[in-house]
Chain length 289, copies 2
Amino acid sequence: MHTILKSEKKEVIIGIDKPFVIIGEKLNPTGMKKLGQALVDGNMEYVIQLAQRQVAWGADVLDVNVGHPQIEEVTMMPIVVEAVKNAVDVPLCIDSNDPKILAAGLNAAIGKPLVNSVNGEEKQLSAVLPIVKERGAAVIGLTIGEDGIPATAEERLAVAGHIIERAAKMGIPIEDIIIDPLVMTVGHNSLAATVTLRTIELIRKEYGVNMSLGASNVSFGLPDRHSVNSAFLSLAIQAGVTCSITDPIKLGSSIRATDLLLGKDANSMRYLKYFRATEKLREAEAAAK
Amino acid sequence: MHTILKSEKKEVIIGIDKPFVIIGEKLNPTGMKKLGQALVDGNMEYVIQLAQRQVAWGADVLDVNVGHPQIEEVTMMPIVVEAVKNAVDVPLCIDSNDPKILAAGLNAAIGKPLVNSVNGEEKQLSAVLPIVKERGAAVIGLTIGEDGIPATAEERLAVAGHIIERAAKMGIPIEDIIIDPLVMTVGHNSLAATVTLRTIELIRKEYGVNMSLGASNVSFGLPDRHSVNSAFLSLAIQAGVTCSITDPIKLGSSIRATDLLLGKDANSMRYLKYFRATEKLREAEAAAK
């Protein structure tokens, strides 16, 4: 099953038979003071720089989130989308909980964007799905039900099924639904990652849909988070996850290596190209400092 | 199924329900000039240092190989085994192609050692298995047949079956056979790792035996080998590999992270202990330089 996203000229295909798709996570002011300030100041130069840097480091799609206590998001979202779409030619992922902010971002985006996100709560489904349908976008569906994040893989599968079914009723095709099986930190619960891996296997078997993961939650509260995040991405890709909202600079090499190992990179072309490009970037960024 | 190795006081259990077992690879002069010279000079101090360093960095077992053009291996093997067993209390893995050298090493070792290795060729099986049986050791069986390394997973499974069967006829129990499904570099063949991963799955399903991998072959000829090696170990552990002859200093953190993610590390105890210990070691080694 292929989820197709589009920017002005570029098409990104997400699928189990395709290289893993990296959705750059850095255009999000949560915990990023400098970006938060840039947005408050209306400084689009910094925003554009962050967008370009992520694409240079291998992001196929860019997530755009403008959540900040001092920002009027409905106004800011289209301004940022406009700036980013003029600076880089990659599909965008409009990131908010609020349907009004999503609609504002989707209207400003070109091509076929992705919505981040809806969940399995009726309130969210009925508010977000019509906007997705109207815009002809794709959407990430988090496996959160009316009672929060289910503890078991079977319950998360059921939430995924409910989201897919509700979307189908609205006329949104199943290939435009990307399910997020969710991962909690293994620092608090040793079985947190195994539940997610089992959820991935169940969803892949039952629905064959694309799946996305925010990979860094898994290591929250642990030291040497990079070792845990990169190992988890490899395990999740093998299990069936096909894209991730993540940091291309930190995790690009692990992702390209995993694609290579799973036979998705004939003659190591992407791996070698990535290595050469990032080697130059690393040198250039070190020199600039 | 559990493979149990023993040193004087320590027991190491290899099994799919146990943390991954690291067999330290560094006591091998191949490509290690300094160690080669130390062996030629009979300098056991350096050998002991290498043994202690690997154990400090998390090696559960130590591989001992003395292959060098200027060394009479039958004489040298027991000398090195003697030195290592007096310095560190971990089981040893006696590493040679030559049955005489294996026998010399096994005689010097205490507890229950591992033999590295036999393969599926009749000549090797009939020369090595009697020595393993007599010593009551465990043995690594490489999936190499009379015609070399098979191209397909099914053929490698057949070689594994042949080794297990021949060992059983000699009275060596199946739990004392650790199969190496072999991996070639993905730099030459994009499907090299997928064949290995499929072999692991088939062997696990058919025989349930423990499996070992030399993980660094997979990245031969590629840049940034660490990204490929660590991702491959994660994938192989998920598929069913239970131990590896590898570098604990380079790959220990990825291995401990993968164990944690696969639910083999209650309350992150081993992961956190490993992080704290190696953080101190890293500081101490940096200071010593």
